[in-house]
């Protein structure tokens, strides 16, 4: 990072999150992706003359959930406004948004960096607005642009952060946490690759120690978390180099080009005053009273940080494990279901992280789609705990369980997998092995105690790996030492 030494980046993020409502924000058209182009439109979202918008109540509640979950204030009165600009994917010629009276104000996002350092970023505002349609630009020299208006009117919340972020890595941490909260609240899928979550970044740099912000540029068109991180790093370096060589940064909007890994200036972008915002006359004021706020607030789910703290105290697991298990609400719920019938929290946490998550990742299966139910895992773990199965056997059973969805009990029967723990049966086997290996026995007694491994191997071979290793070790030592 020597290229930027002496300079400090100042970053603020604007995130658009598509809300998981059934219908659009101002009309009853279905919110759905990958449908026939222009098959989910009506006079309202097509902007036909005379059509009037009516606000979707659930969209308001989803916005409230996010505001309350991040410690912000839901305003008693908020107002919709028209943001005017001319673009073919915006058939009305304006986007219905909120301007000087947004529904949400303040709040913050706490997040952790890779090295465990805790950070916090303030939120300026959260407001409701509608999404635009999609333009497909010519790729083979066609003289026209194609427009699909299915997405037009999809509810969005825009989450605007304070300029509290100081590095691309912090931006990544902030976004990951934001996405996790949105998913926990079940208000947005959080999928950035599919455009359900979009992020623009305002970036400036200033000499270390300077209070005043430098001139900022706005970065757009990043379509992954990594893309955001890369675009910000690119822009920090560009601005710093420019200033160090005596130049000045001009306020502009840059588009990130993922293929070329560069940000290029976007021509002729409207300035804020060109949007000619004014109150939307077709929508009445949105009033949220205390009772409504109270109702949404009390129905908020447990959030990742609270859940993680609780898992540590309820199941006595390590902090790192709690962090992994609470990564998604689905995984945390799964773990807790395993724990309903199983007492060893750490053993279950280990099993889920190494065995279950491993297989899920390998086979690209989502946890909700897996054939293995939490009850099946607790039954399997109970067998390991009781000594009926060795760890190695359990892995074998689990692999089969994951593939077929069969119960551990059935797999064990089918495969004839029974762990031999019976001391007298194992004792007989061990006696036989010792008697046919007198040389090794003598060497062992002469001090070559690492021959224990040889004897264990022989017992395992004889029992096809089904002998209980602890019992075998114990008996062998006793007998070898005579």
């Amino acid at each position: 990072m020597s290229e930027i030494s002496g300079f400090e980046p100042v970053i603020g993020l604007e995130v658009h999150a598509q809300l998981l409502t059934n219908s659009k924000i101002f009309c009853g058209c279905k919110v759905s992706y990958g449908q026939q182009p222009n098959s989910l439109t009506c006079p309202v979202c097509l902007g036909l003359p005379g059509a009037l918008p009516v606000l979707n109540k659930r969209a308001v509640e989803f916005a409230m959930r996010m505001i309350l979950a991040t410690g912000g204030t839901v305003k008693n009165r908020s107002v919709f406004a028209r943001k005017n600009y001319f673009y073919p994917d915006l058939p009305k010629g304006y986007q219905i948004s909120q301007y000087d009276k947004p529904i949400g104000q303040g709040g913050k996002i706490k997040f952790k960096l890779e090295n465990g350092q805790e950070k916090s970023c303030g939120l300026t505002r959260i407001h409701l607005e509608e999404d635009a349609g999609k333009s497909l630009h010519p790729e083979h020299g066609e003289p026209y642009t194609r427009v699909d208006l299915n997405r037009c009117g999809t509810p969005l919340i825009e989450i605007v952060s304070e300029p509290d972020i100081r590095s691309a890595e912090e931006a990544y941490g902030y976004l990951s946490k934001l996405k996790q909260i949105l998913q926990y609240l079940e208000v947005c899928s959080g999928d950035m690759e599919k455009g359900h979550l979009r992020c623009d970044a305002n970036v400036s740099v200033r000499p270390v120690g300077q209070k005043k912000f430098g001139t900022r540029t706005e970065l757009k068109n990043m379509n992954s978390f990594k893309g955001v991180e890369k675009a910000i790093n690119y822009e920090i370096k560009r601005q710093t180099k420019l200033i160090k060589s005596g130049g000045t940064v001009t306020q502009s909007t840059l588009l990130w080009d993922e293929k070329k890994q560069v940000a290029e200036e976007m021509r002729s972008k409207e300035e804020s005053k060109d949007y000619r915002y004014f109150p939307e006359p077709d929508l009445v004021n949105l009033i949220v009273n205390d009772a409504w706020k109270e109702d949404v607030s009390k129905n908020l789910p447990e959030l990742p940080d609270e859940k993680s703290t609780r898992l540590i105290s309820d199941y006595h697991i390590r902090q790192y494990d709690a962090l992994v298990l609470t990564d998604s609400r689905a995984l945390a719920d799964y773990y807790e279901k395993v724990m309903v019938d199983f007492g060893d929290g750490q053993a279950a946490a280990n099993w889920i992280q190494t065995e279950f998550l491993g297989l899920l990742k390998e086979s690209k299966v989502e946890i909700q789609e897996s054939k293995v139910t939490p009850e099946m895992i607790s039954a399997l773990l109970a067998k390991v705990k009781s000594g009926e199965l060795s760890g190695k056997m359990a892995k074998e059973v689990f692999g089969e369980m994951f593939a077929s969805g069969k119960q551990a009990e059935d797999i064990i029967k089918d495969k004839g997998l029974v762990q031999l723990s019976d001391e007298s049966a194992l004792g007989t086997i061990i006696d036989n092995i010792i008697s046919v290996n007198p040389d090794n026995l003598a060497k062992y007694r002469d001090g070559k105690t690492n021959l224990l491994g040889f004897f264990v191997g022989q017992v395992m071979k004889e029992t096809k790996g089904q002998a209980n290793p602890q019992v075998v070790n114990k008996l062998l030592k006793e007998k070898l030492e005579g």
């Binding site: 009309c27 009853g28 058209c29 097509l46 979707n56 673009y87 630009h137 003289p143 427009v147 109150p279």
Partner: protein
């Protein structure tokens, strides 16, 4: 006072309108009349009057989050000057 040529051209550009030199002159006078009219309104004394965003006294008009049938694709595209049966076609924006 008539609007400047730059002001008229800027407004035309925001609406993606191509206007001739002659029209610039014409609109600079016409728009000036509109601005003058707003200045008359602005002259009214509004001390002690709360600004309002909305003149309808109703509040909180909602719809429940229920899906209603959309227009058939054919119908949605029907009035478009140009389409291919799936997409609207508009003069190319970039590229």
């Amino acid at each position: 006072m008539p609007l400047t040529k730059q002001q008229v051209e800027h407004i035309a550009r925001l609406a993606r309108l191509n206007i001739t030199e002659k029209e610039v002159e014409k609109f600079s006078k016409e728009l000036a009349l509109i601005v003058d009219y707003f200045e008359q309104i602005a002259a009214v004394d509004t001390t002690d009057i709360e600004p309002r965003d909305q003149f309808i006294t109703a509040e909180n008009v909602f719809r429940e989050d229920r899906v209603k049938e959309s227009l058939p694709q054919k119908k949605a595209l029907e009035n478009a000057p140009d389409s291919d049966g799936e997409y609207f076609h508009v003069p190319k924006v970039i590229g």
